[in-house]
Subunit: 323 residues, 2 copies
Amino acid sequence: MAKAQESPVLAVDLGGTKMIIALVSRNGCIIDRHDRSTVAGEGPQAVIERMFEGIDYLLGENKLIPQQLSAISIAAAAIIDMREGIITTAPNLPDWEDIPLKSIVAEKYGTATFLINDADAAALGEHRFGAGKGLNNLVLLTLGTGIGGGIIIDGKLYTGSYGGAAEIGHMIIVEDGPECGCGNTGCLEALASGTAIAREAKRRIGKGEKSSLNELVKGKQYDITAEKVYLAAKDGDPLSLEVIAGAAHYLGTGVLNLVHIFSPDMVILGGSVAQMGDLLFEPVRQIVREKAFPLMAKSVQIVPARLGNDAGLVGAAVYALGW
Amino acid sequence: MAKAQESPVLAVDLGGTKMIIALVSRNGCIIDRHDRSTVAGEGPQAVIERMFEGIDYLLGENKLIPQQLSAISIAAAAIIDMREGIITTAPNLPDWEDIPLKSIVAEKYGTATFLINDADAAALGEHRFGAGKGLNNLVLLTLGTGIGGGIIIDGKLYTGSYGGAAEIGHMIIVEDGPECGCGNTGCLEALASGTAIAREAKRRIGKGEKSSLNELVKGKQYDITAEKVYLAAKDGDPLSLEVIAGAAHYLGTGVLNLVHIFSPDMVILGGSVAQMGDLLFEPVRQIVREKAFPLMAKSVQIVPARLGNDAGLVGAAVYALGW
């Protein structure tokens, strides 16, 4: 009994670029953490081996054995069958098709093991310890390389009957819009993710439009990232400001749709792109104010995530401990 | 106690064109019904008077007094604040702005009174007695003059914290698409409702395109309705077939979005336009099969509503009795 009270959860945030492995206490604090690159291109076997090395390293550093953990809980950027603990597919993790990650980890460490979508975990984290504390209904979007979604209904995570729900990034809002990594066109992710922002800036500069971004990346257009577009925009670069305004407009339409569908108490925007602050939030709020039915517009708050990059780790722990 | 067991619910389905008033038994059967025109253009006061006349008539015919009812329950084509029992706005009921219909009816009849959105009621009806019996998660669309939505999560109606959720018809899927009655552009309702189907047929015929619809309405293009487009399509009219295929395509995109957001067990399509059967259902199912993530595509059924036009009445009773 004492163990369940005191033992930390070992949480993993498995992304397409890097994996973060952390010990999370029962009150939602990160006790220790360890990052390594995912090197997703090497395929699932190599990534899983690397994750094991990271887990072993963190346990060693903290003089822990697996039996002292409450659980291992993995938040992955993937579409997960939660009944079976299987990663069914993952746009940013090549060749992950029907990988039974939950049982692979459970067999390796002999601990209770949990597997959850990373944006679902972030929604749980923000609901339990962050911006959405105590609210009944909220929708969270993680804006990064892609766009993930998490939905809290009646204070509980909503995942559909199989665990794959809340793929909000793949809501189509501009039929015949740009192609998305999922194979469809005009998805929110293809219009308002960090990737979409960088792509649009590259496209316009490639056409010969002027931008201070060019100096920022010393003419190497392939070095343009959403973060650099934001830096240039903050310095007043007109092209960068327009590109961000364009993404914010589409994001506003996506959030408007979510407000009409869920009439939530709160929409939380997290992930690296949400760091753009008012450049992004103000247009989104304005679209909802102007275009949503008044009952819904006035009852929804649109706010930044509060746990930052830790939301997924904390949420993975929340999920494992059934808080 | 005996009363609650045996007394019927008096249910009202208040639409933009007609109102149906019915006695519904506790096992979901319609005991008696009475229709009259809404004549919405005369404004809320006149519509409410007409509803009272209809209620009084039906009670008289059945030799009932209000005290013998379990409740009066009104399903309205409106955006409702369920906490307050107020119709906040209603695109197809002109001048209904913040009308406290629940208390108006309760004061008139002295009975327990309930007020619910008509598509929410239809979702409850289909979940309790129709196509979605016993399922955990489902989304219902009513395809008629407009497009309404109802959401069942974990076996319960989801309405958001204030009662206005599930305005699925106002999900934007083609930014810069045709104008919608709500004031926005490119809403699902503006692309795939009965009104949208009739409008597109009129537009094309108005441009001089040939269609057997012309003979069907004896050259009076303003007489073209979605139903007549369907009749012409069944007879092989190419233009009508194309118009319906266009609407089905947009409907498919809307349903695809709902499948990615909710990963529901079932999507139910009801309302008059859903009577078009396979002309509508087959393209929708194909889009979901081809474009949804496999985990979600394989776990969702897309089916017609089973209670037909009674779903709203039955669902209003379900809501009143807390089934």
